[in-house]
């Protein structure tokens, strides 16, 4: 059996076209607020969300926004590296952002795999569903089919504004990551050096995720 108390730290990516609500989703999820004023993402790498998954397990999620301006699809590898899962977001009121979804998914799969070579778990978010123009989604079966074809583990209609389905989508993603994780343990790399401001030291990965 597992140790009585386990902590996990996962890096999750939030990807999608400009203005689909990536930052809003993160803000809603992590900070429980929403602002209708648009603001580019400046100076922020990631936001941290702590989930008390079950009595034995704490999950810390690092949500990495694509830096607002890496928007031409030219993300650095630093962004993708060692991510365990991703949300790909589109705006239900703008069909063009849905058309870009497959492109984002291909791009992600080409640049990132789990240490065992498998693709990371990705959940598709149909955001701004509060605006009632979800012409794309009137056929749930079609969306299921789309997800199957493109390798998404699931999809959700979300609204950062009304706080709809964001927690649910996140739980779905975390569930898949946890299920994948057992066969990844062996591939952890020891003796990695991470130079810090405070105290330079050798951090062994076996002691990770402790704070």
């Amino acid at each position: 059996m597992q140790a009585p108390h386990r902590e996990h730290l996962y890096k999750l990516l939030v990807i999608g076209d400009l203005g689909v609500g990536k930052t809003s989703i993160i803000k809603r999820y992590v900070h429980q607020n929403f602002s209708s004023h648009y603001r580019a993402t400046i100076g922020v790498d990631f936001a941290l969300k702590v989930l008390h998954w079950d009595p034995e397990t704490v999950v810390r999620l690092q949500l990495w926004d694509i830096a607002g301006q890496e928007r031409f699809g030219n993300m650095t590898r630093v962004y993708y590296r060692e991510a365990m899962g991703a949300f790909i977001v589109f705006d239900v009121t703008r069909p063009a952002t849905f058309e870009a979804v497959a492109k984002w998914k291909n791009d992600l799969d080409s640049k990132l795999t789990l240490p065992n070579g498998k693709p990371v778990s990705v959940v598709l978010l149909a955001n701004k569903c509060d605006q009632g123009k979800d012409v794309l989604l009137n056929n749930g079966l079609k969306m299921d089919q789309f997800c199957k074809e493109h390798g998404f583990v699931g999809w959700f209609e979300t609204s950062a504004k009304e706080n709809i389905n964001i927690d649910e989508a996140s739980r779905c993603l975390v569930k898949h990551i946890l299920a994948n994780e057992c066969d990844l343990m062996e591939s952890i790399e020891p003796d990695v050096v991470k130079p810090h401001l405070a105290s330079p030291k050798v951090v062994s990965c076996s002691s990770c995720a402790k704070s």
Partner: protein, 653 residues
């Protein structure tokens, strides 16, 4: 994914090499609106690292460079008015020459091998690169080895792979052997792979057991495991790059491996150099007396300035001569001169030698047992880390974005704008450009040095130990005095730069001829070509070469800004990679240029910690476009920059 680019910036940066990327981070960080473009499809320019298929595509690009078409480039002439003139930029990259590829391992031609999960930049590239490797010498069936050369058109056209430098007889013999093996296999014409395997197994029983047999298709299939650096460098653990990474907190994006061994090549043998106190005492190669002598000398070097009487009389002498006066055995002198000070026997002064030795010793122990760190996933990560920092602070990134010309105001002589390949005019106050983008006209009087590089994939370490995960650096001194020492870096799969059961070996030296001519003699000393056929016992002790690439890269690091003709004063020039082991040149260049452009701004101060940022929900000044008006996210004032890091805030896998 795409929408139109804003047209007003403070700084436009062309090229994503290390100095440009540091500058991008520094400028964005200080609140400048930065546009950072690269004409290539990848980050890093000549500082990039590639997967195996990525490297093959890069080779192809180098080869085809001279016939880059004018496809789809809008004309810029109409966009310039009478008061302005244009300075055009170079359309193709001319910094790589004399590329030559040698593949020693067997390949199943029938196999439609592809890199698993590779990004298909040019869908044709992966396969065709393999198959176009001089099909003339490919037999129909499985074959042991073949060789080919990519020559950059126009640089050395008269030479083909069939007539590989007949003047180097030594080399020729070696290659002949290769061809011979190949022919032999052709005669056997093993028609299916299984039969071949059987043959191997029989041989394995007679020879000493060999664990891994790696084929070309395996290398291609596992190609993503490779991150092959175009420049081979390390970070001094007290060097300016590490300091900058830490100070700016860009280090949060990077992870490193310690270089685990410093090696020396003496009398035909590779040995480990003891450099820390523990190493010296544990060394089995050194006698007690030698240990004492070495410790005494190294201790002296740590604060040599305090003991001027010890070296003053020798200040004008060569360091190698000075060492002879210090009662050190030849063994120890070799270690100190080549592996610790890493200097030249025939040109390094005593003072420089002492300084280099001290630098080395000071770097010991900060992170590990040797003074060096290597970035996980390769050196190419480092520019990307700075680009990420720039992007996080609002920098806009466009790869595959060509710039046609600078627009210069005739009256003021200052650059006002660039015109890109879409014919869009983008205005800015300052322009930073990597020198490979400058036109031939601007560089007509410039004399460049060259760097000779080799990249090898091998099956074993050059010095085997219990651990097969060593990261080693070896300096091979020149045979003739006055020639250049060759720096050899051997990376194991734990550095995330090569597939399991292989090693990635980088050779670097300052060029005197083509890369192969400069480096092949050292390659021959250390390695033996992969052969499935019988090999004699002595050769077996050397690692086998599976694949090799040679190329020359232009070294523009010594070029003075004033050597370029007719550049406006607000166009700043960054150079490509230099030949040195460390990254000091790039860091210094970036800092100097930044200070020149923004004398009152701090260079790369630490950013706020993501977890200290408070999103303010009621933002009263919504931004119109998200790019024109850059604001810093608020930093909780109680937190000071000194303690931005705390364990666990960092992503640790």
């Amino acid at each position: 994914m795409a929408d139109s680019l804003p047209t007003e910036f403070d700084v436009v940066i062309i090229g994503t090499g290390l100095p440009e990327s540091i500058l991008a981070a520094a400028c964005s960080r200080s609140g400048q609106r930065v546009l950072h473009v690269d004409s290539r499809s990848y980050y890093g320019g000549n500082w990039a690292s590639f997967s195996f298929s990525g490297l093959l595509s890069w080779l192809k690009e180098c080869q085809q460079n001279s016939n880059v078409g004018e496809e789809g480039t809008a004309t810029w002439q109409d966009l310039i008015d009478e008061t302005e003139e244009a300075i055009t930029l170079r359309k193709e990259d001319a910094t790589i020459q004399h590329t030559e590829v040698f593949c020693y391992v067997g390949q199943d031609v029938e196999d439609n091998v592809q890199e698993v999960g590779a990004l298909q930049k040019n869908p044709s590239s992966v396969e065709s690169s393999i198959l176009t490797l001089d099909s003339a010498c490919l037999p129909e069936e499985r074959h042991t080895s073949y060789l080919t050369s990519y020559e950059v058109p126009g640089t050395n056209t008269q030479k083909s792979d069939r007539e590989l430098s007949p003047e180097v007889t030594d080399t020729e013999e070696w290659l002949e052997k290769e061809k011979y093996c190949e022919d032999k296999t052709c005669v056997y014409t093993v028609s299916d792979g299984e039969k071949d395997e059987n043959k191997l197994r029989v041989k394995d029983n007679t020879d000493k057991p060999k664990k891994n047999r790696i084929s070309y298709s395996q290398i291609v299939k596992e190609g993503r495991r490779f991150n092959i650096d175009l420049v081979s460098k390390l970070l001094y653990s007290q060097g300016s790059l590490i300091d900058l990474l830490i100070k700016s907190n860009v280090s949060r994006y990077a992870e490193f491996k310690n270089v685990t061994r410093i090696l020396a090549f003496r009398e035909g043998k590779v040995e480990q150099v003891p450099c820390s106190r523990a190493d010296v005492f544990n060394s089995k190669e050194l006698t007690m007396v030698e240990k004492r002598m070495l410790m005494k000398f190294l201790t002296f070097c740590l604060d040599y300035e305090q003991h001027p009487d010890e070296y003053q009389a020798f200040e004008q002498c060569l360091f190698s001569e000075y060492l002879k006066t210090k009662k050190l055995t030849p063994n120890l002198r070799h270690f100190i001169l080549h592996s610790i000070a890493m200097t030249s026997e025939s040109s390094c002064s005593t003072l420089d030698g002492l300084k280099a030795t001290k630098t080395f010793l000071q770097c010991l122990g900060r992170f590990g047992n040797t003074p060096f760190l290597f970035p996980l996933y390769g050196q190419g990560e480092i520019p990307q880390c700075f680009c990420r920092m720039s992007a996080v602070f609002g920098g806009i990134y466009c790869l595959r974005h060509k710039v046609q010309c600078f627009v210069v105001d005739r009256e003021s002589g200052r650059c006002k704008a660039i015109i890109d390949h879409f014919g869009q005019r983008i205005n800015a106050k300052y322009f930073i450009v990597e020198d490979s983008y400058l036109s031939e006209e601007a560089c007509s009087t410039v004399q460049y040095r060259q760097i000779s590089r080799a990249v090898l994939i091998t099956d074993q370490s050059i010095l085997k130990t219990e651990s097969d995960q060593q990261v080693s650096i070896l300096i091979v001194p020149p045979v003739e005095p006055g020639a250049c020492a060759v720096r050899v870096m051997e990376l194991c799969s734990a550095t995330m730069t090569c597939m399991k059961d292989t090693y990635l070996v980088h050779l670097t030296c300052s060029s005197s001829k083509t890369a192969r001519e400069d480096l092949e003699s050292v390659v021959k000393k250390l390695f033996t070509p992969y052969a499935e056929a019988e090999i004699d016992k002595e050769e077996l002790t050397k690692p086998q070469l599976l694949w090799a690439l040679y190329f020359n890269m232009r070294d523009s690091s010594g070029i003075n800004r004033s050597s370029y003709n007719g550049l406006p004063s607000n166009v700043y020039v960054c150079s490509g990679p230099d030949c040195e082991l460390g990254n000091d040149h790039a860091v210094k260049q970036a800092e100097t240029l930044f200070q020149e452009i923004f004398p009152n701004e701090e260079f790369c101060p630490p950013p706020p910690n993501p977890e200290d940022i408070i999103f303010d929900g009621d933002d009263k000044q919504p931004e119109a476009s998200g790019t024109s008006n850059i604001k810093m996210a608020k930093l909780e004032s109680s937190k000071e920059s000194k303690s931005l890091e705390s364990p666990g805030k960092h992503f640790q896998n």
